[in-house]
Every structure is written in structure tokens, then in C-alpha cells.
Amino acid sequence: MVDRSGTPLVELRDISISFGGIKAVDSVSVDLYPGEVVGLLGHNGAGKSTLIKCLSGAYQKDSGEVLINGKPVEINNPRDARDHNIETIYQTLALADNLDAASNLFLGREIVTPLGFVNDAKMEAETRKIMGRLNPNFRKFEAPVSALSGGQRQSVAISRAVYFNARILIMDEPTAALGVQETKMVADLIEELRKDGIGIFLIDHDIHSVMQLCDRASVMKNGQLVGTVNVDEVTEDDLLSMIILGKAPEKAA
């Protein structure tokens, strides 16, 4: 069980953001404790990606507060998020297709030689190391990532998030393009990372895997938070009705 007595790793308080008058996220509050996996559920367009993008620095919230380790922080861009050890795997994967796996993995954080030049050999070696752990079948180190399959691209995006010792990991449908075996590897990875005390926000449409992997689940509908539940205390049907009907079960956490 996750210890939720201390201060949360992340607290999002009353986050709102709208696009052209439409409230994509409407006063949503969620929190995350060290070593915890919180699932974000909801129909397409519910506002899940938009909410976590306010935490990863891709969007700027209109109102609300972000607290990390209990301290309010300003996250205005992806660099700010990285400074707080927040790593994100975006739904769109966010890779530069024309560059190889190593260049993508280290994009924005290249290893440089003492003279300040990028050290491609070292970066490729590091990429081979982390890939050897996450996806031993990966071979295409020289090719641009446009030449990779959807799953291979996904493994590049995942290894990028894992490599830099995140404290807070955001995974937006990380298994969307993966096969059965590879999905299992991501599940194992999440388990391993959580043991290291990393907090994970996991967006996933598969209720079954959310029940398995997550400690709590927050459900959104039309930009609003329906409720947050301990997955141990609810059934898959409860979650389903929260997603579809937008009704929290009587005993919400």
C-alpha cells in the first residue's frame, strides 16, 4: 500500500484551461504520492492529455495551482518541468523523425565533450544500454526513427522518459501501439519504477490494466473531475459507470 500520510509529490489544484471559450479542463484537482501510480480515465476528449500537459509545461494553465513536494511552482515551459524532474511520454510520442534513436533520446540534453561538441558515440552507447534493458530486440540504432515501427518508436519515447531519473513520470497511453508482450514489459517497468519511489500518472483507456497497475484512479468527463477512487475499493463496472455516466460511486476516496 502507498503511504499517503506525508506531503504529496504532486498536487494539481483547481486547474482550468480553455481553448477558444471551451473549457477543456474545468477546475480539476488531483494528487500523486511517491511510489504511487494514479490512473487518469475518461472518454475521448475528456481533457486528460490537456490536464497533464499543464504539468509537463506543454500548455500554460489559465488558473489553478501546481505544488511539488508541497511547494507551489510555476511551470511555464517543458524546461521548467524537467527542472522539477518531471518526464513525459506524450500520446503523440513527440519524436523528431529525421533523427536517430540516440539523438531523440538525448534531445535537449545532449552529452557533450569537454569542448562542448555533441558526443554521438557516447550517446549511442548509452542508448544501447538503456534499450538493452527496456527492449533487447531493438537494433535500429543508426536509422532515423521514421524507419521504426510504432512500437519501436514508443520504446524510444519510453526510454527517454526513464533514462533521466524522473521523480514524476507522466505516461499518456504508453501502450497504445504495443503488442501483448511489449505491453507486459511496460507493466513490469511501471512496477519497477514505482518501487524506486517514482510517482506516475498513467493515462490508459484499458480499465483492466488500470485496475492492475494503479493505486488510485481519477475519472474525467467533459473537462471535469468525476471523482478519484482507490481501485481496490471499486469494481471495473464502477469505473465504467463513472466514465460513461459521470457518476461517482457512493464510497469515493
Binding site: 519524436l95 529525421n98 540534453r109 561538441f117 555533441v118 530486440n137 515501427s149
Partner: protein, 432 residues
């Protein structure tokens, strides 16, 4: 997390053919092939006048100005922008530098005409102006979100006429004697120093090949077989030394030498000969090419330029400040326009209103023929320089054969379109 790919291309499969063993970019090879064909055809059509040391010398100095700007255009196009104002920007920089050396410095700063500092101050000031204007373009594009096509189309009109105002529409000259040394034939290294340079450059390329190999071995990466490495080294150093030998074979005409001796108060000894060697302007182009290649392939800036061309959103999400990057790219373009302005005006020995007219088209064509993809993300510095050389060879060759100017332009325009078509077909074939 992906399917196993037993027969994947990549480091672990045995190399299939010779080209793969040499790890030579087939695209580069195709361009060199096209260049050689152009040269040979014109050499036949001109009864051997095309491939003389004299003509090769002229060809290289004519290429320099466009080639320098083309290297910057690679960055601009790779980041999915375009710069239509480079010819006009060149004119503004040229006008400013002409005024600086003939009017501003002597009149306002009391630096007499002929002072050895004049060329240096002038060039520094010119580059400053180029960078400033480039930054301004980049700011309009990056921060205000105006498409580069529009910003630089406006710039084309603005800077061409700013140049006019700087000089009141007059031709400014003669320019400073030191400044003229960067124009081509008026400033060359001479035979001995050209050989020294050639040997150093050859040695440096061999060292670079060797250290790249050592670096790969130290990380346990596969390396190409030793014979391939040796062959590549031989080709590269042979090409460098061959180029130097050709330029060292172009001898100064007797009357030029006689004038040089006269200027020093001496008489020329009987039978004395001297070769031009490598022009300083070509040296400048080589320096620009090396620096730009290092920036493109070895620095973070270069990495971000290519990443932004491949996927701007992803690059931004990776923490790169794209707006700032846009400013940097246009600033580099501006600096290179100023450097080209030095070469172009020094070659003419004066500044004219129409200097650099239509250069934007030549520069874009050179970059595109050289393999820069207008969709962004792909391009090389050496490709752009080779593209400039191919264009210039076509133009000079046709002029030598006596093709009328309008027909020359028809051919060059057609070549541009066909080159891009071939590139598209090529990329489809290799599945890029």
C-alpha cells in the same frame, strides 16, 4: 518493446556491397557524378578549354559568394523556413561596407584611406549589420509568427532599396586594396603556401578519419574494414592535393608579374614565373564550410536545427526554445550574407546597386540541388556547396560555348526542377 527484427538493417548485418563498405553517401556520389559529367561535356564542347587550370580557377572564385550563402540557406530551409532576401541583404551589407571604408571611417573616424585596419573594421561592421538584420528577420518569424516567406519577400524589397539609400544610388569604388584581396584573383596564397595548406588539410582529414574510427572502436561499434578506410583516405587526400595542384598550375600572366615587380621597385628577372595558388576567397569558403559542417553535425545548435526541421513540436517539448533558434538561424544567414558581400564586392572591386541581384534564387537552387529538402529536416553543407558549383559550372560552361543568356536561364531553371524530381525519385527508392 517491439517485434524482433532479425534481418534488420543496421550495424549487425554484414555489409552487402562496395558502397556500403565505404559508407559513402550514394546521394553525394550521384552529385559528384553529375558534376563530373557536366565538366566533361563542356570540356568536349569547348575543345578542352573548360578544364584548364585557368577556367577551374575562375569557376571556383565565381562560386564562392553563392556557395557561402547556400550553406546558411541549408539551415534556413532545414528549419522549414525560406530566405528570399539574401541577395538584397548582400547588397545592403556591401553598400554599408563600401561606405564604411571609403566614407565613414576616413571622414568620421579620421582613419586615413589605406590604413591597414580598414578592411578588418569594415568586415566586422558589415558582419554586424548582417547579423542585426538577420536577428530582426528571425524575430519577426519566430516571435511574431509571420511566415518567413513574407518577411523575407518584404526584406527583398526593403534591403535592396536601403542599399540604394546608403549610397545614393551611386557606384562606390575603388575599394580598399586590402579588402580587395578577398575578391579572388587579387589575393591568392601563392604556390608554396598553397602546397602547405593542401598538405595540412590532407593530413587533417586523415587524422579526422582515423580518430572517428578509434572513437567507434572505443565504444565497441562496428567499423568498416581497414582497406575501405585506407581507400577513403586516399581518395580524400588525393582530391585535396589534386585541387591544389590544379590551382598551382595557373600561372600569373607575364604583364601581371611585371607590374607586381614594378610596384616593388624591381625589374622582373628573365624567365620568371609564378602561380596564383589558392585564392583567399576560396580559403574563406573552405573555412565557412568547415565551421558550418561542425555546427550542423557536432553542436547542440545544429542538432536542434535539424530536430526542429523534423518535428518542431517535439523539439519544443524537449525543452528547446524554437523562437530563439529561429533568430539564431536567420542571424547566421545574415552573417553569411555579409561575408558573401565582402567577396562579391571585392571581386568587382567596387559596390554597385545591382550587386547580388537574383542571388536569392541561385542560393536557394544551390541548396535544393544539393539535397536540402524544402519540407525541412534534411540537408548537408557539402551538398549545398556542390550544388552551387554545379550551377556555376552550367552557367559558365554555357557562356563559354556561346549559349545566349536567355537560353542559359532556361536551362538552369529546368535543371533545378529536374534535380528536385530526381531527388524525390531517389528518396522514394531508398525509402527515406
Amino acid at each position: 518493446m517491439s517485434q524482433a527484427e532479425p534481418a534488420a538493417t543496421g550495424a549487425d548485418t554484414p555489409r552487402r556491397n562496395l558502397l556500403a563498405q565505404l559508407e559513402i553517401d550514394t546521394r553525394l556520389l550521384g552529385m559528384i557524378g553529375a558534376f563530373i559529367v557536366v565538366c566533361l561535356v563542356f570540356n568536349v564542347l569547348t575543345d578542352g578549354r573548360f578544364l584548364t587550370p585557368r577556367n577551374i580557377f575562375n569557376l571556383t572564385i565565381q562560386t564562392v559568394s553563392v556557395a557561402i550563402m547556400a550553406t546558411g540557406m541549408v539551415f534556413v530551409i532545414v528549419t522549414r523556413h525560406i530566405d528570399l532576401s539574401v541577395g538584397a541583404l548582400l547588397a545592403t551589407c556591401s553598400a554599408f561596407m563600401a561606405m564604411t571604408q571609403t566614407v565613414y571611417l576616413p571622414q568620421f573616424f579620421g582613419i586615413e584611406i589605406g590604413n591597414p585596419l580598414i578592411p578588418w573594421i569594415t568586415i566586422a561592421a558589415g558582419i554586424g549589420v548582417g547579423v542585426l538584420i538577420g536577428c530582426f528577420h528571425g524575430w519577426l518569424v519566430g516571435y511574431l509568427g509571420i511566415p518567413a516567406f513574407i518577411v523575407t519577400l518584404g526584406g527583398l524589397l526593403v534591403w535592396r532599396n536601403v542599399a540604394w539609400f546608403l549610397t545614393n544610388g551611386q557606384t562606390i569604388g575603388p575599394l580598399d586594396a586590402g579588402f580587395l584581396k578577398l575578391g579572388g584573383i587579387n589575393g591568392t596564397m601563392g604556390e608554396t603556401w598553397s602546397w602547405v595548406f593542401g598538405l595540412v588539410a590532407a593530413a587533417f582529414s586523415l587524422w579526422a578519419l582515423f580518430s572517428a574510427r578509434r572513437n567507434k572502436i572505443s565504444h565497441d561499434f562496428p567499423v568498416k574494414p581497414m582497406w575501405a578506410e585506407v581507400a577513403l583516405g586516399a581518395i580524400v587526400s588525393g582530391a585535396i592535393l589534386g585541387f591544389v595542384a590544379i590551382l598551382n598550375n595557373y600561372e600569373k600572366p607575364a604583364r601581371v608579374l611585371a607590374r607586381e615587380f614594378e610596384a616593388r621597385g624591381l625589374t622582373m628577372p628573365e624567365g620568371y614565373t609564378e602561380a596564383y595558388g589558392i585564392p583567399f576567397s576560396v580559403l574563406l569558403l573552405i573555412a565557412v564550410a568547415v565551421v558550418m559542417t561542425v555546427v550542423a553535425t557536432r553542436t547542440r545548435l545544429g542538432r536542434y536545427i535539424f530536430a526542429a526541421g523534423g518535428n518542431p513540436e517535439a523539439t519544443e517539448l524537449s525543452g528547446v526554445n524554437i523562437k530563439n533558434l529561429t533568430i539564431k538561424v536567420f542571424a547566421i544567414m545574415g552573417a553569411l550574407c555579409a561575408i558573401s558581400a565582402v567577396v562579391a564586392s571585392a571581386r568587382l572591386t567596387f559596390h554597385t546597386n545591382d550587386i547580388g541581384t537574383l542571388d536569392e534564387l541561385r542560393v536557394i537552387a544551390a541548396a535544393v540541388i544539393g539535397g536540402t529538402a524544402l519540407a525541412g529536416g534534411i540537408g548537408t553543407i557539402y551538398g549545398a556547396i556542390l550544388g552551387a558549383l554545379i550551377m556555376q559550372s552550367l552557367q559558365s560552361g554555357m557562356a563559354m560555348v556561346g549559349v545566349d543568356a536567355p537560353f542559359q536561364n532556361i536551362v538552369v531553371g529546368t535543371v533545378l526542377v529536374v534535380a528536385v524530381l530526381i531527388d524525390i525519385i531517389y528518396r522514394k527508392r531508398i525509402g527515406d
